[in-house]
Symmetry: C2
Subunit: 109 residues, 2 copies
DNA sequence: TCAAGTACCTTGTTATGCAAGGTACTTTAG
DNA sequence: CTAAAGTACCTTGCATAACAAGGTACTTGA
């Protein structure tokens, strides 16, 4: 057991939450997501992101549309569905509770 | 994909962190941990907790000692090792960064 | 025309939470 | 004395999901 692995575990569930948030602010494609997450120090690689986006789409939380690019192949731009927005609202509450619960435990010295 | 499952994912990596924190404050056994985590709204069941404690022990982060009980079978009381304390310090930093990163993303409207 | 860049996707591995079920010790009611 | 209830520890099998590594396909420019 090493620190890196535990850190990966800590980020796990948060990823989906952050990705939905970014998509909720406007249409983005995979590289936009990787860029913004990396800037916020949440590292994500393609092998994680693509299956995750596919899961979100199959679950009806996001949708996508093809957009031509002037600098390469076409891109899949993702956008929120009504269902996805409701889902994200619930996750907002879960996140607040999780931070509150965890801080309660780690500050209870 | 349902909200419950995503909520479980969000809690996943945090669990280990919270458990180490509780043990670092003093010797506890499994039921103490379940009680304190449940009070903080972090639900954990035996099938999750026992393998996790065994992993932490095998990794040398915690140790245990048997203590006789007056109300039933003997209990395994867990305590931190020096290595475990160092590990926990690193996780403290990771947690702070994770909260900061996530809040950065979800508040970037 | 072919190398480099961009973009999307898949396979196999590993980690881990959880449901369900099991073993064993102690106390108490009948 | 025995059986049931309570307490405590543990294991097996399953499902989920991040990640490493590798693959396909389109576009541009030298």
């Amino acid at each position: 057991m090493n620190v890196e692995n535990t850190q990966v575990q800590m980020r796990k569930g948060i990823l989906e939450f952050c990705i939905l948030h970014i998509i909720s602010r406007g249409e983005v494609y995979a590289s936009d997501l990787i860029e913004e997450l990396t800037a916020a120090k949440i590292i994500v690689v393609e092998g994680t992101l693509y299956p995750l986006l596919t899961r979100l789409r199959k679950a009806g939380l996001v949708d996508y549309k093809w957009v031509e690019s002037t600098t390469g192949p076409p891109r899949k731009y993702y956008l929120m569905t009504t269902e996805g927005t409701e889902f994200l609202n619930k996750l907002d509450d879960t996140w607040k509770e999780l931070v509150e619960s965890t801080n309660k435990i780690i500050n209870n010295k």
